[in-house]
């Protein structure tokens, strides 16, 4: 991971499929390149932060314009290929937890990709330790507390070692100490040249990450 990953959004416009009697949300972003190592997107509820993050991670495809990874248009990429470059943390943690045991949660995707069992489990254990989840590694995933689920989901997003992260409100449900640990983890990722797009309402955390702040309002980025 030597080369810094560059993400670029160019002349993006997007709107959710119209349904009758519903007000339609549309997003328009002329040009957006996360400038620093960590860029924070802030703004009111419903201003389109999550939508922007999903567009950046290829989860939603823009109606017009393009998303470029290292200068390459991702329009034709498969989600799995995107996932190897960019990690994405959903705002809702329970939708991205798949297995009954936390340890398996961190190892199964690697196994599906052909990583040998031992190696996958070593890495999973290491991540569990890092996020202080070791003691519950054999509990039931679905009955974990909100904050434990959140940490597990973050750890799971890190397994594939992507070069860029889109984190949608990663601090929701975390206590003060765990927020500190998350900040540390993210800082150490940044020192390995991994870029971060942080969507958050948590001013203190954004400060702690020394992020460049961009504000969203009504589906557009407010000029910096």
């Amino acid at each position: 991971m030597d080369e810094r990953f560059t993400l670029e959004l160019r002349d993006i416009s997007f709107s959710y499929p119209a349904r009758e009697r519903r007000q339609n949300f549309s997003l328009a972003v002329k040009h957006f390149v996360p400038s620093g190592q960590c860029t924070a997107i802030m703004g009111e509820n419903g201003s389109g932060k999550t939508t922007l993050g999903k567009l950046a991670a290829g989860l939603l495809r823009p109606d017009a314009g393009c998303v470029l990874y290292d200068g390459e248009d991702i329009a034709g990429w498969k989600l799995g290929q995107i996932g190897r470059q960019v990690g994405y943390l959903f705002q809702e943690p329970s939708r991205q937890l798949f297995t009954p045991r936390p340890l398996e949660e961190l190892s199964f995707a690697q196994k599906l990709r052909g990583v040998p069992q031992d190696e996958a489990e070593d890495k999973a254990t290491e991540l569990l330790r890092q996020f202080e989840l070791e003691h519950i590694k054999d509990n039931t995933t679905y009955t974990l507390s909100r904050g434990e689920k959140q940490r597990l989901a973050i750890a799971a997003a890190m397994v594939a070692q992507p070069r860029f992260f889109v984190l949608d409100e990663p601090t929701t449900g975390l206590d003060k100490r765990r927020r500190g640990i998350l900040a540390e983890t993210l800082h150490s990722l940044m020192s390995k040249n991994v870029g971060i797009l942080l969507i958050s309402h948590d001013c203190a955390f954004v400060d702690e990450m020394q992020a460049d702040i961009r504000i969203m309002d009504g589906g557009g980025l407010v000029d910096a």
Binding site: A57, L79, G80, V86, Y88, F90, R95, F98, P100, V159
Partner: protein, 256 residues
């Protein structure tokens, strides 16, 4: 919903449709090997569905995919369970036989009957259906459960889609996987959906109890169904039809 409620005034009583759907789908299960009888039954059920006002174009659009699959199944059955006159033979393998087509057609018709029976309910609003279930003495809780279950279906579909996306974002390229791994992947997908729906159900139940659902033994209803003379005629018709079919099946009258 109110418009649908008004429209249902002109439809037969939902209880008539319950009876009809019950009779049709029971015969669909009972009839074996008698293709002509099955075709007759299908014709009757289509006729009923048209009279009730099932929107066939919409139904067709929804079921087209499923029907394609069924067609493949029926061809497979004629390849692997060949019998009767051979219609098409390639390199010594019987591709299409009369017997095989008959079996395939039976399977198709059976599922078709289930689908048309179910589709008849789509003309009614959920409120009317619950009332119908309650008035045939089905426990209110059970009737309510059915309606809540129906409400969750689109949500489940949404969740399944989200989970699939999340899984791919872990760097798994589904198209590259071998079949065995692909199958294990689907088990990973189904689990969270089941768990989350169970949690949803539990939370819904709790919040309903907190709002005094079931505090009284019986829930009164402003809206009540009553059988019109035309409904009674239809019920008699269904009864007569059932007896006729029963006689044909038991005595084995070979009317065709």
């Amino acid at each position: 919903m109110t418009r649908k409620l008004q429209r249902t005034v002109r439809l037969p009583d939902p209880r008539v449709v319950f009876a009809l759907a019950f009779v049709l789908s029971s015969f669909a299960v009972v009839i074996r090997g008698n293709l002509w009888l099955m075709i007759g039954l299908m014709a009757v059920s289509l006729l009923c569905a048209v009279c009730i006002g099932v929107d066939f174009r919409q139904m067709w659009r929804r079921l087209r995919r499923l029907l394609q699959l069924l067609l493949i199944v029926s061809i497979l059955r004629s390849v692997f369970a060949p019998s009767g006159t051979i219609l098409l033979e390639l390199w010594g393998v019987q591709i299409l036989t009369v017997g095989g087509i008959q079996i395939g057609a039976l399977v198709l018709l059976r599922l078709g009957l289930f689908i048309t029976s179910g589709a008849m309910f789509t003309c009614y609003s959920v409120r009317v259906l619950i009332q119908g279930m309650v008035q045939i003495k089905m426990p209110y809780e059970l009737a309510y459960m059915v309606s809540v279950g129906v409400r969750f279906i689109p949500q489940l579909a949404e969740e399944l889609k989200d989970s699939l996306t999340a899984l791919q974002l872990r760097g798994v390229v589904i198209e590259e996987l071998k079949l065995k791994k692909k199958l294990s992947l689907y088990t990973y997908l189904i689990l969270p959906v089941i768990v989350s729906s169970m949690q949803n159900a539990k939370e819904l139940a709790m919040s309903m109890e907190m709002r005094a659902f079931r505090a009284e033994r019986n829930r009164t209803s402003f809206y009540a169904l009553s059988l019109k003379p035309s409904d009674i005629v239809m019920l008699c018709g269904i009864l007569a039809f059932t007896i006729l079919m029963g006689v044909i099946l038991i005595v084995g009258v070979d009317i065709f």
